[in-house]
């Protein structure tokens, strides 16, 4: 294994400190512009297909479905921002949070109250909701500096419970005005006025897609950049990260803050969606559901967030439409999560393409002549 090292050495062993820029020992084997850290293979076909799919969903889809399904896909888009944040937290930073669903409520609350108290434009409302929720999330993440795994999950679940209690006491959101959004009549929902450019349902759907795309770019920027590398070190071992000079406290809290920022942004968007938000929308157990779909979707790739949001919002609506009891969903998710944990840590987004490829190979073998090169698909 030392062969390449020995061969490459003569030229490269120029003194490190005194190497002038012109004679940098960049091996001939690797042109400098290709050295840019590990990149997933980005073949242009996939990028094109992705862009085409996005364009279709944005411009084609709203014309093909009725108002009900448009609301559903809008909420899929909004929830994909939440699952994106939680996926980053779990897959990249290696920490678990069970309070993201309740942070969604916080985001909605902040946006609604800010709208009540100020005349901020909609994008700033969304941003402020994200920032405030991010700060609260970082506070909840403080125990993560000492705890991890199950204990951290429990702490965040308790935080979720505490937020629920506060929401119950404050009777938020039930359609009223004022700081608490409290109306004596009760039972109604609160809705944030939409931006002037996106008052219609279709326009608002596109608006949400634009925000979601921004969030995915933000996530990508983090994953590919300095925070992504620091999180990779942290995930492997805290000692390694410290020895590399990584400020462990900062990056742990930053991961929590980022995930919570995204939840807050989604909360603000949700508050302006059709029907607004109401008090029955944020039960604690949904936090666990959220964790389940995020794990099922896949936490190691950003696409997993979209799959997770589809599982969370579209699947129940579909089952309902087909007349299947949505109670079945709990069982389905239970089986799904076992399946993912046991056989596909990369989640559905990673597993399905592989399974399809295996299936294709299997079918080819069934119908075609048996070739020596075909190996059995992995179990």
């Amino acid at each position: 294994m030392s062969e390449p090292d020995v061969q490459a050495s003569d030229e490269e062993r120029a003194p490190l400190a005194a190497t002038p820029a012109s004679t940098l020992p960049r091996g001939e084997a690797v042109p400098p512009e290709t050295i840019r850290g590990l990149r997933p293979r980005r073949d242009p076909v996939r990028v094109l297909v992705g862009a085409a799919a996005l364009a279709f969903v944005t411009f084609g889809l709203p014309g093909m479905i009725d108002r009900f399904w448009l609301q559903i896909v809008t909420s899929v888009v909004i929830y994909s921002i939440v699952t994106l944040g939680l996926g980053l937290l779990i897959g990249r930073a290696g920490m678990v949070s069970l309070c993201q669903f309740l942070l969604l409520a916080i985001g909605a609350w902040v946006a609604l109250r800010l709208d009540f108290a100020t005349s901020l434009p909609f994008p700033l409302l969304v941003l402020s909701a994200g920032v405030v929720t991010g700060l609260i999330g970082a506070l909840i993440g403080l125990p993560a500096l000492r705890l991890s795994g199950l204990y951290l999950a429990l702490i965040t679940l308790m935080a979720a419970g505490a937020i629920t209690v506060v929401l119950r006491i404050a009777q938020f959101p039930n359609g009223g005005g004022g700081f608490f959004g409290n109306s004596a009549a009760g039972g109604a929902s609160s809705r944030l006025p939409r931006p002037a450019i996106a008052t219609g349902d279709t326009a608002y759907f596109r608006y949400c897609i634009a925000v979601a795309v921004l969030m995915f770019l933000l996530a990508l920027w983090h994953v590919r950049g300095k925070p992504g590398r620091a999180w990779a070190a942290l995930r492997q071992s805290q000692a390694t990260a410290i020895a590399a000079g990584v400020n462990v406290t900062l990056y742990r809290l930053w991961a929590f803050a980022l995930a919570s920022f995204m939840a807050g942004v989604a909360g603000a968007l949700l508050a302006a969606a059709s029907g607004g938000v109401n008090i029955n929308q944020f039960p604690v157990q949904n936090s666990i559901l959220l964790l389940a779909v995020v794990l099922m979707g896949g936490v190691y790739s950003l696409g997993g967030a979209v799959v997770a949001a589809l599982l969370l919002r579209l699947l129940p609506a579909l089952l309902d439409d087909w007349g299947v009891s949505t109670e079945l969903l709990t069982i389905l998710f239970g089986v799904g999560i076992l399946q993912v944990l046991l056989t596909a840590p990369g989640g559905l987004v990673d597993q399905v393409p592989k399974d399809l490829a295996n299936l294709g190979r299997g079918l080819r073998r069934l119908v075609g002549p048996r070739r020596a090169g075909d190996e059995a698909p992995p179990p």
């Binding site: 030392s2 390449p4 091996g27 050295i35 850290g37 590990l38 410290i242």
Partner: protein, 238 residues
């Protein structure tokens, strides 16, 4: 130049380092001793993972123990781990970049510094490969590259040759010998491979049960009868 005075570490009733006073001069110093002698604990004190109950550590005049653990890399303290800890999910380049971007030095020379360090250990052709796909010897080299990138002042190598075949160890030894001059950093080498230690280190200190039992030029130390009794056994093959 590291000056250790009266250093004591206690884990409950166990005292892995007991009132240790030691000066490690520049260049490459060896640190040897039987298992449990306190070598790795000493490194962990330097890294900030273990807090001593007494004693001081000064490196190049700075009070090392007063610096926050993660800031010590920025100060210039680097280390490798006994069980190799190159980050499997990142490429070779990103592994080294991680250290460079979290320590001192401007962004202008960042890429060049990283590639210099990668080339220093001879991994330039593998720069884009994921560390998880490399062999054990190459992952060790990634750790060394992480230790020399930027402006290190003290490089701690904790059994870098553990588990390596002889030819890889020799290659590693050649690299280690180049560090003091070419990277301008002091090296402290812990290893059980006496031929590696004597090939790399001008001076060597010997620990046993948390106490310093000998120090001096490597050749003298390895002839010292206390050392032979405590560590090397009776065979004088060294």
């Amino acid at each position: 130049m590291i000056e250790v005075e009266g250093l004591t570490v206690r884990f409950g009733g166990v005292v892995p380092i007991d009132d240790m006073t030691l000066t490690l001069s520049g260049g490459t110093c060896g640190l040897i001793g039987p298992n449990g002698a306190g070598k790795t604990t000493f490194f962990n004190v330097l890294s900030g993972f273990v807090k001593p109950v007494a004693g001081t550590v000064h490196a190049f005049g700075d009070d090392l123990l007063a610096i926050a653990d993660y800031r010590r890399a920025r100060w210039g303290l680097r280390r490798t781990f006994q069980t190799e800890q190159a980050i499997a999910d990142l490429s070779v380049f990103d592994n080294v970049l991680l250290v460079r971007e979290n320590t001192e030095g401007g962004r202008a020379t960042q890429r060049r510094d990283v590639m210099d360090a990668v080339a220093f250990v001879g991994l330039a052709p593998e720069a884009n490969r994921r560390v998880g796909t490399l062999g054990a010897a190459q992952r060790r080299l990634v750790e060394v590259a992480r230790a020399v990138v930027g402006r290190p002042r003290v490089v701690l190598l904790d059994e870098p040759a553990a588990g390596l075949p002889d030819d890889e160890t020799e290659h590693l030894g050649r690299l280690i010998r180049r560090i003091p001059d070419e990277v301008d950093a002091s090296v402290v080498l812990v290893d059980h491979d006496m031929s590696l230690v004597s090939a790399c280190c001008a001076t060597t200190a010997v620990l046993d049960f948390g106490k310093l039992i000998a120090s001096g030029t490597t050749a003298d130390v390895l002839r010292d009868e206390h050392v032979i009794r405590a560590y090397l056994g009776t065979e004088e093959e060294v």
